[in-house]
């Protein structure tokens, strides 16, 4: 399978076979990501890291991946300091980065920005999140986490919880999990339900998602509980927000209903969706999940640069 020069814009650009290949290759990167082994796989390669909106976790995870494989990074983390503020187009910034580097990572507030960037660059472009749109490396690291924790993705009972309407990670994740035929249950307040287009996509892939407002019920036979942040600004008043957040809080009381091998995931940062006392339980996998961004991004960078081991 050849990924050299390929852009990573949307999880939908990839077949299940290609995703499997990326996940298996990411596994081989685990020792390098932990710093237990050293490789100079990306030696002499320069990455442009263009963050038109801040995202500390994603940016650091890319930088860790490149540096641990002997590559180097140029770029910016703060849009206030860039020529964008002076009115330069994304297209022009991309043309410049393309001439300076071998691969481009772009994070941008507008939907479709990464697709546009790819049109103006010869170098491969990796989408690190575009607006409320896609974030394929997050989706891949989520899949990788389920794959490594559960040994497979198919047949798992996965509960997606929280803001399913605006939460960008859950849309691609619901799609990708459906590719694998996982069982899906959506738990959210009425006003933040999974959009019908996403439900339709799952159905087209042969998965009939269940909806419920009862978290206890959903958690009972779940293998994976994927929690997302519910943002305050989605609610007209603080009272309603507090009620919803209270109803969907993951705490040790809830875990009484859970199976022993339930894993709890969260794209982070979390606010108060998961009580800190859950962190100490074996269910909590979210910090490991964040770490998994490194091997997955290592794999992607070396694949698109064509320097696979």
């Amino acid at each position: 399978m050849n990924f050299k020069g390929k852009d990573i814009i949307s999880i939908k650009d990839f077949s299940k076979k290609e995703i499997n290949y990326i996940l298996d290759y990411s596994k081989k990167m685990l020792d390098y990501a932990r710093g237990e082994k050293y490789s100079d796989l990306l030696k002499g390669k320069l990455l442009s890291s263009l963050f038109f909106e801040p995202s500390t976790r994603t940016r650091l995870s890319f930088e860790s991946a490149v540096n641990r494989l002997g590559g180097r990074v140029i770029g910016f983390a703060d849009p206030a300091a860039t020529s964008q503020k002076k009115g330069e187009s994304l297209a022009d910034t991309i043309r410049m980065a393309d001439s300076y580097s071998d691969v481009i990572v772009v994070r941008h507030p507008q939907e479709g920005a990464a697709r546009l960037a790819a049109e103006f660059a010869d170098a491969p472009v990796l989408n690190a999140g575009d607006g409320a749109g896609r974030h394929p490396t997050q989706c891949l690291l989520d899949l990788f986490t389920i794959y490594t924790e559960k040994k497979r993705i198919s047949k798992n009972k996965v509960v997606l919880l929280g803001d399913l309407k605006y939460g960008r990670t859950v849309h691609s994740l619901a799609y990708a999990l459906s590719l694998y035929g996982a069982e899906l249950t959506f738990v959210s307040p009425e006003s933040l339900k999974m959009p019908k287009e996403v439900v339709q996509e799952c159905k087209e892939l042969g998965v009939e998602p269940k909806h419920t407002s009862s978290l206890e019920k959903a958690v009972k036979d779940a293998d994976v509980l994927y929690v997302t942040r519910i943002q305050k600004e989605r609610f007209p008043d603080a009272e309603e927000y507090n009620r919803v957040v209270g109803a969907y809080r993951v705490d040790v009381d809830l875990l009484k209903y859970a199976q022993d091998n339930l894993i709890i995931m969260h794209p982070l940062p979390r606010v108060n969706e998961i009580h800190p006392e859950v962190d100490k339980t074996p269910h909590a996998i979210y910090f490991k999940q964040a770490f998994n961004g490194v091997p997955v991004r290592m794999a992607l960078l070396s694949l698109v640069l064509g320097v696979k081991k």
Binding site: S89, P109, Q110, E111, A113, R115, G131, A132, G133
Partner: protein
């Protein structure tokens, strides 16, 4: 003899088999009457074998392919008849291409294709031809009402 609903034209284009009620949208797409001095006749709710339909006749104007693409977006069953000297010189059914560039605006206000700063034309992938369903190439959103989004 059958009653003539619309006068025959000498030269121009007849757009037939427009879904009943959509003739006005077709006129809008063609920029009529604003950008045209051609005389135009419209027949609405004409009875035919396939139910009711609308017909638009434009004198002294032959549609170009770009305009035909636009018509396919709102009248996917329409046929285009190019008339020269009272004869049908060409006849074809409108056909949506696989991609539509620069014709429809994305309904997502924060889509990069709506950014004035970027050197970009709107671009849509045709998901289904009849009834037409299109998806923004950039942000993947499907406009609910395509007719409202035509540039």
């Amino acid at each position: 003899m059958k009653e003539l609903k619309v006068q025959p034209i000498k030269n121009g284009t007849v757009i037939d088999h427009i879904e009943a009620g959509n003739a006005v949208k077709v006129l809008h797409i063609l920029g009529i009457p604003k950008t045209s001095s051609s005389s135009v006749s419209v027949a609405m709710n004409v009875r035919s074998k396939l139910g009711k339909k609308d017909i638009v006749k434009v004198e002294n104007r032959e549609l170009d392919p770009n305009e035909v693409d636009k018509i396919a977006l709102i009248a996917p069953k329409a046929t285009i008849n190019i008339i020269r000297n009272y004869e049908v010189a060409e006849k074809y059914r409108v056909q949506l291409p696989d991609e539509i560039i620069g014709i429809v605006r994305c309904s997502n206000p924060t889509c990069v294709s709506n950014s004035k700063k970027e050197p970009v034309s709107t671009r849509f992938i045709v998901v289904e031809k009849d009834p037409p369903r299109i998806k923004c190439y950039y942000c993947e959103r499907e406009p609910d009402d395509i007719a409202d989004r035509i540039i």
